[in-house]
């Protein structure tokens, strides 16, 4: 599904990713862990195509296609989804209608029929339940006046609507209390399917108690220095990242 090969990327002239390799198959959940500044969010942003990063070396293949050559919207239409660490408030833009436009652009691209307003609203009803988000909330302006937890739930709600083959969740656990975390994780778990690949970017092991990953990677100073199963996450929780730092040195 996703293949990252020797990816180097910089922002404002500073190299942040220094040769990342990653292979994620359909049906798998991979966790990318690492301390602040290790490059986790940069990796998520480069996969989604956020402007402002320069890829200096390496490739990112998605379903065999060169992802880096595509605009962010083309990636979305191909099925790449990014759940934002900091979802953006957009006053004046309807959350649900912008999502309808997005979904129909994607469906059209996939050769599926577009949904009419009735079908779309019943889809909204169904998916809102998944993350226990109020229907009236999702009909407001995008994230405007939402609490931190509501914003994160809205991200997973959007993911559920758009049904992407590849979802990258950037620190979806940050800023959530334990109840909200359970709800968000529950939503993600219901979206785990054999067809979908999920990449969880997280700072803490906590999220992985609720979304159990197939593979855990440790990102340190722009490189994946260790990969393992869910036990690796527990070890990191107990020992911190310091014991791995020696292996991060070039």
């Amino acid at each position: 599904m996703l293949e990252v090969k020797d990816l180097h990327a910089s922002a404002n002239g500073r190299e942040i990713l220094k040769g990342v390799d990653l292979r994620v198959k359909a049906g798998e959940v991979h966790a990318i862990m690492g301390p602040n500044g290790s490059g986790k969010s940069t990796l998520a942003h480069v996969i989604a195509g956020r402007p402002g990063y320069e890829v200096t070396r390496g490739r990112v293949l998605y379903q065999g296609q060169d992802l880096l050559a595509m605009t962010p919207e083309a990636r979305a239409r191909e099925g790449v989804f990014l759940a934002f660490q900091y979802p953006v408030e957009i006053p004046g833009v309807s959350n649900v209608y912008f999502l309808k436009a997005a979904l129909n652009a994607i469906r059209k691209h996939r050769g599926q029929s577009e949904l009419d307003a009735m079908d779309f609203l019943s889809l909204v009803k169904e998916k809102a339940k998944l993350v226990d988000i109020d229907e009236s909330l999702v009909k407001r302006a995008v994230n405007e006046g939402f609490s931190g937890g509501e914003k994160k739930r809205n991200e997973i709600f959007q993911m559920a609507i758009l049904d992407p083959p590849l979802a990258v969740l950037d620190e979806t656990d940050s800023g959530l209390d334990i109840d909200a975390l359970r709800i968000v994780a529950g939503g993600v778990n219901q979206l785990r399917t054999p067809e979908r690949a999920i990449v969880l970017v997280t700072h803490y092991q906590r999220l992985l108690d609720y979304i159990v990953p197939d593979v855990v990677h440790v990102l340190l100073d722009g490189r994946i220095v260790k990969s393992g199963d869910k036990e690796l996450a527990r070890e990191l929780e107990a020992r911190g990242y310091e014991w791995l730092e020696a292996s991060a040195a070039p």
């Binding site: 957009i90 004046g92 436009a101 997005a102």
Partner: protein, 469 residues
């Protein structure tokens, strides 16, 4: 001290004397022809007013950037154009279809009175009788019962308006007169349409429509003024609108300026509010090559409410200048002001908003907000909020921001699959939506939204349109 004497005393030159002599002389000559050509005699007081106005204009000339009120807007392109007054009948080429394009596509349900080149076009107007409501041609009222207008017509120029208002006072022939009798809540909105034709002669044309609206005690009404021109036509529309709200009256006003891309527009609106009256204004400056709009409001008694909303959207080399004055001359009045600007290309925008809280105007509550969105590096906006508070026990605040499209919001939309051009346009429409959304006449709101959409790329998709709140 007049500007002329300031020059004499060695101050900064306020205009180029050689140039303005010929310009003002031209208008004087025009004025003589205008006065001589009038078939029906006007009352002496009006003739005197016109004489005084043209004399004042001759004395002051066109405003220059050396004047505080005009420092951001050069009217040199207007000053150097030799406009001509179109002959009656020249605008007869304007058809119902031309008006319909600016009449909200037939969706507007209400009274409509149309003026072409500043003169009534009865064939294009449709007014149905409604409980003593009067909507008619100002020229008509002047010929039949001129005394009704006497107290109004002289007023504007004494309010310190610019020499454009002097030109209007000297040359106006017609415009709308709207009288809402005391206590009447007008059922349907009233649309005043001012169209400029292409004329039949070679030179650019000029018109000076004058509108007087009197909302009687406790009356209620919605009025829309449209200014538009035949596409490509070059002209100057120099409009003056005077609105009086008697005690307890409520008036919701909307100006939709969609002049042709080659046109100049100068609009001056004076509003006087009686006790506990409510005035709400939505001003959309969307067209024209060079546009200047003044709104001059006065609380003439206690307990009034005033809301001024506005949006200008310019691109290319367009220039749009708005000056507003809200005058809290009496206690217990509330004003809210929200103006927004959208600038693309090499366009230039100006917002100068003055709120004056006079001595003794306690319990004044005034808010002013100005927000501007720059879509290109070459666009430029000047925003000058001015708060002058001479009273105590008041609540006043103002804020002004100018910025570009939010790149984080743009990426957010694109990351969900919205194409870049559509995402940009969606954000621009969203920026405008809180001003446009306040318009309560559905056809007018839809017409403005349509106009904005047509200016923006990537918004043809119906679904994207629906995403604008």
């Amino acid at each position: 001290m007049t500007p002329a004497s300031a020059v004499d005393q060695g101050g900064a030159p306020q205009r180029l004397p050689a140039q303005s002599m010929t310009e003002t002389d031209r208008y004087r000559t025009e004025f003589e022809a205008f006065a001589a050509g009038r078939s029906t005699p006007e009352p002496a007081w009006l003739r005197e007013q016109r004489e005084e106005a043209i004399a004042r204009f001759q004395d002051r000339g066109f405003p220059t950037v050396a004047e505080e009120e005009w420092r951001f807007t050069s009217v040199a392109p207007i000053a150097r154009t030799a406009f001509r007054r179109p002959a009656p009948g020249e605008g007869s080429g304007v058809r119902t279809a031309d008006v319909a394009a600016f009449g909200f596509e037939g969706a507007f349900e209400g009274h409509q009175i149309v003026f072409v080149d500043g003169r009534l076009a009865p064939g294009l107007s449709s007014i149905t009788p409604e409980g003593g409501l009067q909507i008619c041609s100002l020229a008509d009222v002047l010929s039949r019962e001129p005394e009704r207008l006497r107290s109004h017509l002289g007023r504007v120029v004494s309010d310190g308006a610019s020499s454009f208002a002097d030109l209007n006072a000297a040359f106006f022939e017609d415009g709308a007169f709207v009288f809402i009798p005391p206590g009447l809540a007008v059922d349907k909105p009233i649309h005043l349409v001012f169209m400029s034709s292409r004329g039949t002669g070679p030179a650019s044309t000029i018109s000076h429509p004058r509108t007087v609206v009197v909302a009687g005690r406790g009356s209620q009404v919605q009025i829309v003024e449209s200014y538009a021109g035949v596409p490509g036509a070059a002209y100057l529309a120099n409009a003056v609108t005077q609105i009086v709200l008697e005690d307890g009256a409520g008036l919701e006003h909307c100006t939709v300026q969609r002049e042709s891309e080659a046109a100049f527009h100068v609009g001056f609106m004076a509003v006087v509010q009686g006790r506990a009256s409510r005035f709400k204004s939505h001003s959309f400056a969307l067209g024209g090559r060079l546009a200047r709009n003044d709104v001059r409001q006065l609380f003439a008694d206690e307990g009034g409410e005033c809301e001024l909303n506005g949006l200008f959207a310019v691109a290319g080399e367009q220039h749009s200048d708005t000056h507003t004055v809200i005058d809290h001359a009496h206690p217990h009045c509330t004003s809210r002001e929200l103006y927004k600007g959208i600038l693309d290309g090499k366009s230039r925008g100006v917002f100068v908003g003055r709120i004056l809280v006079r001595e003794g105007a306690r319990k004044t509550d005034a808010h002013q907000t100005n927000k501007n969105l720059l879509l290109s590096r070459e666009a430029l906006v000047d925003s000058v909020p001015q708060l002058e508070i001479l009273a105590s026990d008041v609540k006043c605040k103002h804020g002004s921001t100018t910025g570009q499209l939010d790149s984080a919001a743009l990426f957010y939309l694109r990351s969900r699959g919205i194409p870049e051009a559509a995402a940009r346009s969606l954000l621009v429409c969203a920026f405008a939506s809180d001003v446009v959304g306040r318009v309560r006449i559905p056809a007018v709101k839809a017409g403005i939204e349509r106009h904005l959409r047509e200016q923006l790329p990537g918004l043809r998709d119906r679904e994207i349109q629906e995403a604008v709140l």
